[in-house]
Amino acid sequence: MRAIGIILAGGGSNRMHELSKNRAVCAMPVAGFYRSIDFALSNMTNSHIQTVAVFTQYNAGSLNTHLSSSKWWDFGRKQGGLYVFTPAAKANGNLWYRGTADAIAQNLSFLKSCHEPYVVITSGDCVYKMDYNKLLQYHIDKQSDITVVCKDIAADVDIERFGTIRMNEESRIEEFEEKPVVARSNTISCGIYVIRRRQLIELIEKAQNEERFDFVRDILVRYKDMKRIYGYKLKTYWNNIASVEDYYRTNMDFLKPEVRNYFFNEYPGVYTKVVDLPPAKYNVGVRVSNSLVSSGCIVNGTVEDSIVFKGAFIGNNCYIKNSIILNDVYIGDNTHIENCIVESHGTIQANSYYKGEKDIKIVVENNERYVI
C-alpha cells in the first residue's frame, strides 16, 4: 500500500450523554464484541496499510486499554505499526488538540518521517467496511487533491450533525457545508479522506500559521474552490455512532441477518482484541429470542430483541426487551429492562424496573456487587 493511515479518535460527544462520560466515542462497544475503532483499524490492515497513527485526547483510558497490543489488527510488526498520539507537554507550551487539523499539526514530525506518498484519514466512530485501495485508485484517476468519501442517507436521519456535500456530474465537490441548520443535500461526508502526504503537510502548516485548527472547516471548506476536491460515493453499509439514537440503531442493525453476515462472516473480517471468556451459558428457565449474546454471559431470564455484550449476568425471572446490555453488567433477579442501554460494569439490583418511554433510556447503576 502506498499510504499511511490516520485515525481521528479525539472526541467525546454530548450527543452520547452519559455514555461518553468515561470513554471516547471510538471506544464504544459495538455489536456485542467490537469497539468502534475496530472498523477503521481492520479496514486499514485489510487494505495493507502498515503504519497507522491514532490521535486521541478525550477520556482515552478505555481506548488505550483496547489498543494496548496492536497484534489483534496485525500491526505488531517491525515495519510500520500502530502509533497512539495523545497531547503532550512540549518545550513551547502545553496545548490540547484544538481541533483535528491541530492534532495532525502537533504531530507533524510523524507525518514528515514517513515515506508513503498518500495518507488515508478516517474517523474512528463509524461502522463500515471499506477497501481503501479502491478509494486511493479513484483519487489518483481523478487527479484529485483531496477525495472525500460520502454517502447518500435516508431523509429521516438527522442530518444536522454531519457535513453535507453537493457534487457536480464529475463528482467534484461544489458545496460543502458543515453541520447545516437547513440541509440542501442528502449526501453527507463520512469523515474519510485521501490526500497526498506532502499536500497534507503543506495545508496543515499553512493552517497552523494562520491559527486555524479544524480539518473540515479550515481545510476542506476553505480550499474547496482552490483545490480539486472530489467525492467518492460509498454504497455499502456505513453508520456513525456518535449519538445515542444512532448508536442504538446501529447496534440493532446487527439483529438483521444481512448486516450480521456482512460484518461477521464475509471477507474481509473485522478484528478486535481477544478477551479470553468462556462460551455463553444458559441455565434453566431461559427464553432468548431474536437476540445477540456474547461470550462469557450467563443467562437465567428472558431476553428479546436485544444485544447482550460480553460477560453479562442476567438473573432469574428477568425480562430484557429492545435493550443493549454493555460489557460486564450484572442484573439481579426479577428485573425489567425495556428500551434501555445499560452502561458497562453496571450492577442492577434485584427487582428493579427500567423502561425508556419516548427515548432510549441510559441506565448507569454502580451498586455494590457481591460476587460469590
Binding site: V284, V293, S294
Partner: protein
C-alpha cells in the same frame, strides 16, 4: 546465557484411539472440548498461569491441527523472545532415525532443546487431561523436600485404584513403593502423569536408559530413579482432574460443564483458560429458539432448540430442530426439523433436514463395541448426512454419506458407516 528455572515438556504425540473417529484426523490434545477449547488448552494455560513460559510440545500423530492451533503461542502469551512455545516433532538423525517410541524416549530425543535453557527443573506433562493446576506450588513442594522427582497424584476411590499407577508413600509423602495397575491396591494415590524432575536426575536417567526400547516414564524411568536411590515424592492434588480418554468420559466431562455451578468452573476470573479464537462475534438466537442448561460458543446461530448440550463456535442449528444431551463442535451445520439426542458431532459436519440421530433401541456396536457405547452417536469431522434419515444408538458415521447408505432411510443401532477411509 539463557536461563529458565523450570521448563515444561508437553507430550502431545498420542493418537488417543479410544476416542474413535474424533482422533481420526488429529491427535487427542487437539480434540475440541467445552464449546470453544481444545484439550491442550488446559495444560498450556496452566503453564502460563503458573509462570512457566518455556514449553516444548512433542508432536507425532497427525500434528497439523495441533500445529495450526498453537501457532506461535499468541493466545497463551507464549510468543516470547526467549523461550515461549516450540513444537518438537521427531526428526531424522545421521545415524538412526526413529519415531518417538515412548514418553521418555521422546524427551530423550530432545535433550538438546532442554539444554539450551539451562533448566534447574523440568516439568513433564501430558496433553490429554482437563484440569487447572498451579505447577509453581508443585515446584515449591519439590524444592522444600529436596526431591529429585516429584509425581503429582490424586486420591481415587479405592475400588477404582486398580486402573491406575498407584504410589505408596510414607507420612512425609515420600514414595516408598509403587505399583502399576495393582489387583490389590495398597493405596489410593493415583499418578496423574505429571512429573517434576531435577534436571541432573532426568538427564542422567534418560542417558543411562537410552537403549531401552519404548522408554517410558511410568515403566522405566521412575523405577530406575527409585532403584538408584533418588528421592521421589508424591504431590497430592485435590482439585478437578478428568481423564477424557474414552468417548464416554469425554461426553460426561463436557456435560458436567452445564451444571449451574459446575465443579470445573470456566467462569472464574482467576486461572483463565486461553484458546485460539477464530470466531469472536456474539451468537444469535432466533425468534423461535429455545435454550436451557447449555453452553454455546461464539458466532453460532440457533434457530431451533438446544437443551443440556455443549455447542461449539460457528454452529448453525435450523428451525424446528431439537438438540439434547449432545456435543456439537465448531462449524457444524444442522438443518431444520432434526432431532439430535446424545450425539457427539465433530467439526464441520453437515446434517440435512429432518434427520433423527440417536433413535431406537440400544445395540452393541458391530466394529468397536468398546469405543462406541453408552448410546452415543458419533459423527466424524466433515461428514455429510443426507436429509430425512434415521440413525440408531451406538453408531458411528464418518465421511460423505448419501441416502443410498441408509437402506429404508435408516442406520440401525450399533452400525458403523465409515466412508472417509484413511486420508
Amino acid at each position: 546465557m539463557i536461563k529458565k528455572e523450570m521448563i515444561a515438556m508437553l507430550l502431545a504425540g498420542g493418537q488417543g484411539s479410544r476416542l474413535g473417529v474424533l482422533t481420526a484426523n488429529m491427535a487427542k490434545p487437539a480434540v475440541s472440548f467445552g464449546g470453544k477449547y481444545r484439550i491442550i488448552d488446559f495444560p498450556l494455560s496452566n503453564c502460563i498461569n503458573s509462570g512457566v513460559d518455556t514449553v516444548g510440545v512433542l508432536t507425532q500423530y497427525r500434528p497439523l491441527r495441533l500445529n495450526s492451533h498453537i501457532g506461535i503461542g499468541i493466545p497463551w502469551d507464549l510468543d516470547r523472545n526467549i523461550g515461549g512455545v516450540t513444537i518438537l516433532p521427531p526428526y531424522e538423525k545421521s545415524s538412526n532415525s526413529e519415531w518417538y517410541t515412548g514418553t521418555a524416549n521422546a524427551i530423550f530425543q530432545n535433550l538438546e532443546y532442554m539444554e539450551n535453557y539451562h533448566p534447574d527443573y523440568v516439568l513433564i506433562l501430558s496433553g490429554d487431561h482437563i484440569y487447572k493446576m498451579d505447577y509453581e506450588t508443585m515446584l515449591d513442594f519439590h524444592k522444600a523436600n529436596g526431591a529429585d522427582v516429584t509425581i503429582a497424584v490424586m486420591p481415587v476411590p479405592i475400588e477404582e485404584a486398580s486402573r491406575f499407577g498407584i504410589m505408596i508413600t510414607d507420612e512425609d509423602r515420600k514414595i516408598v513403593d509403587f505399583e502399576e495397575k495393582p489387583e490389590k491396591p495398597r493405596s489410593n494415590l493415583a499418578s496423574m502423569g505429571i512429573y517434576i524432575f531435577s534436571w541432573e536426575a532426568l538427564k542422567e536417567a534418560l542417558i543411562t536408559n537410552q537403549d531401552q526400547p519404548g522408554l517410558d516414564f511410568g515403566k522405566h524411568v521412575i523405577p530406575y530413579c527409585k532403584e538408584k536411590g533418588r528421592s521421589l515424592y508424591a504431590y497430592e492434588f485435590d482439585g478437578y482432574w478428568k481423564d477424557v480418554g474414552t468417548l464416554t468420559s469425554y461426553w460426561e466431562a463436557n456435560m458436567e460443564l452445564i451444571d449451574i455451578v459446575p465443579e470445573f468452573n470456566l467462569y472464574e476470573e482467576y486461572w483463565k483458560i486461553y484458546t485460539t479464537n477464530d470466531v469472536q462475534p456474539p451468537q444469535y438466537l432466533g425468534p423461535e429458539s429455545s435454550t436451557s442448561r447449555s453452553i454455546i460458543g461464539e458466532g453460532s446461530e440457533i434457530y431451533g432448540e438446544v437443551h443440556n448440550s455443549v455447542i461449539g463456535c460457528g454452529v448453525k442449528i435450523g428451525k424446528g430442530t431439537v438438540v439434547s444431551h449432545s456435543i456439537i463442535m465448531n462449524g457444524t451445520e444442522i438443518g431444520e426439523n432434526c432431532n439430535v439426542e446424545k450425539a457427539v458431532i465433530a467439526e464441520k459436519v453437515v446434517v440435512g433436514n429432518g434427520v433423527r440421530l440417536g433413535e431406537g433401541e440400544e445395540k452393541e456396536n458391530e466394529t468397536k463395541p468398546g469405543i462406541y457405547r453408552d448410546g452415543i452417536v458419533t459423527i466424524g469431522e466433515k461428514s455429510v448426512i443426507p436429509d430425512n434419515v434415521s440413525v440408531g444408538k451406538n453408531t458411528m458415521i464418518s465421511g460423505v454419506t448419501t441416502s443410498t447408505d441408509y437402506p429404508n432411510g435408516m442406520l440401525d443401532s450399533g452400525r458403523t458407516l465409515d466412508k472417509a477411509g484413511d486420508r
